[in-house]
Symmetry: C2
Subunit: 423 residues, 2 copies
Amino acid sequence: MLYKEMTRAELLAEKEKYSHEYNLFKVKKLNLDMSRGKPSEGQIKETLGILNAMNPSTDYVTPSGINTLNYGCPDGLPECKELFSQILGVPAEKLYIGGNSSLALMFDYLMQCYAKGSSETSKPWIMQGEVYFLCPAPGYDRHFAIAEYLGIKMIPVKMTKDGPDMDQVEELVKNPAVKGMFCVPKYSNPTGVTYSDETVRRLASMKTADDFRIIWDNAYCIHDLFGREDKLLDMLSECEEAGNPSRAVEFASTSKISLSGAGVAVIAANEENLTYIKKRCARQTIGYDKANQYRHVLYYKDLAGVKKHMSILSDIISPRFEVVLNAFRAELSGLGIAEWSEPNGGYFINLNVMPGIATRVFGLCKEAGVKLTNVGATFPYGKDPDDTNIRIAPTFPSVEELSDATSLLIISIKLAALEKLLK
Amino acid sequence: MLYKEMTRAELLAEKEKYSHEYNLFKVKKLNLDMSRGKPSEGQIKETLGILNAMNPSTDYVTPSGINTLNYGCPDGLPECKELFSQILGVPAEKLYIGGNSSLALMFDYLMQCYAKGSSETSKPWIMQGEVYFLCPAPGYDRHFAIAEYLGIKMIPVKMTKDGPDMDQVEELVKNPAVKGMFCVPKYSNPTGVTYSDETVRRLASMKTADDFRIIWDNAYCIHDLFGREDKLLDMLSECEEAGNPSRAVEFASTSKISLSGAGVAVIAANEENLTYIKKRCARQTIGYDKANQYRHVLYYKDLAGVKKHMSILSDIISPRFEVVLNAFRAELSGLGIAEWSEPNGGYFINLNVMPGIATRVFGLCKEAGVKLTNVGATFPYGKDPDDTNIRIAPTFPSVEELSDATSLLIISIKLAALEKLLK
């Protein structure tokens, strides 16, 4: 029965019931964290073999003749490019291999556009007065933090089941002061949405300023769950076909394939962008850690090796998603107080509670020992206009912990909704 | 006998002799590289153990409780800070641990000053019109490349045996558009000079613009040779004592301690600078590779472990320096056509040939198969005003190869000098 159709007496009875249940939880003194998309210990244990992939008896010169332990090869090992080429479906010559952080590659790229311009011939963004970025929201807080740091004004764009609302996007990019857009196109953080073919094609072909750049953060490119798999078009090819070959720069990493603390990140870009990026990188570093690049090559060998590993990780992660989703389905369906995503991959479940109660839900959970992602974090400037969105990160806790935390979360949602309806 | 005191007949006889010797060398078809400060295979082989310092059976949680393989601990492992604290003689709380490249940490810091200002309250350099950096020259070409990329105008400063010419520096920094200075204060690249106490104190206490920053690139902080050791004052303390605590930011790495391709880099700075740097870094990355940081901690343990390792490396490097220096002493002394450094550490021998012939010497060597550092590379904008400076990087070739290359170099210097004197 929908909460909003209940009588005041019924609401009060429900509230008493869940207040009681909530207090029982408080006694348990939980101390759980569902706030960040962090791999669990189990995932790390399944990946320890990579630490030994290079050892003192390994030939540290690659088949292509690169000494992985000395200076040189600033763009990254050809063998590592080949591996990422298979993972991303992008030709190896379009790749640049970085350190362990794709976020750093994005930050550095945006800093480059900001201070030097997004191409050899365009003006630095900092020299163009007020500039804007489109931010599909809810979205990834660390993207928003970069834009805020650089003083780039953020314009939130509604997320639909097919990706960002393209009517809104196409309208907004008519303004030449709009310089770019953040996209997590597959198993989007946090909505779990994979951009439809139409969305990708409209992004590739819409009319924008020349120095407009899409940050194509393909963080969850092969991070499928439940044996299901979304398909995403290759953005670089689509941009090329649409006659806007320099529009998108793609980023990815193995942070959630191998090790979050010690992975390898990559840039994929067309020739113009890549040449311009490499020019800066050649000033920035003599080269990233090639030993770690080689560890990844030796450990995974090829796409089949990566996929096999991802299937092991999926067996660890999928049950965690199931615990949360099953509880939501059993306890929240039909009440009209919450909607949630059921993604085929990625690291998050997106939860939208009754508008106006997300902060209260967060507070109730916190008080009883469960840390959720800060409400608002998924929106530009940390402000969720409807106080409705909660990002659930189910990967880190154990299944048992998640079960407890989800029960508490559900009780908190009900309590907060009842409080609101009784006001 | 000084060449310039020879008669024309004597010069011609000398020239004939060395032309003949040069031609004998050309027949050998050498293919040697003395152009970059690269460790040799021997150095790498002595360091291979570090690859195994973390392996699947290693406890990957540090004594301080950090999981090295997951996200978190963005400033770097406390254990790694402790190791660098001992190496640099700087308290651990002043340190930030990065990836494998101190150049990247410098680039990112300069980019920060350029685009955001060198403190919370100061104007970005890019917004201040034309700005300048002092560049002790000969100096490190990669420093100059960063300044050039950012459009920061470089002013060369003469190097003396005690460091940069401080009279010149103190005069130049009176201009508030001078925003900083590059320094390699110990075993300077390429002069091998270690800054005297007086130089360090004058740098720390001179009057400059508030947003002036010294890039204190302590790349060769414990890179002693021949069992000798230069002493360098701690710049951060000197700046603090002089009442300019935010003036210098120090950088170092293990690129020439452990592995050039897979080392760990560090920033040392006072609280104001460090807070401001960390604020940016928190936007830039979730954290650098902690597995590699931990490898270094486990492999070296402490300063004694590092020093023991550096002494092994010195046994490999010192003989290479000796080969070159002995040949110079035997073949170039008393001719008045070349002067060279005899450093107590670092990676370079600095050679100044008769003004106007360095480019010719480079060409002669190249033609006979020996690659020297590009003439001019050691000066801002790649321009050596006197065409005199040649940076010798003796670490990479074998002792035998170096012996050949040095013989060729000496012959080339003599030939070029004779050509010039005979003009």
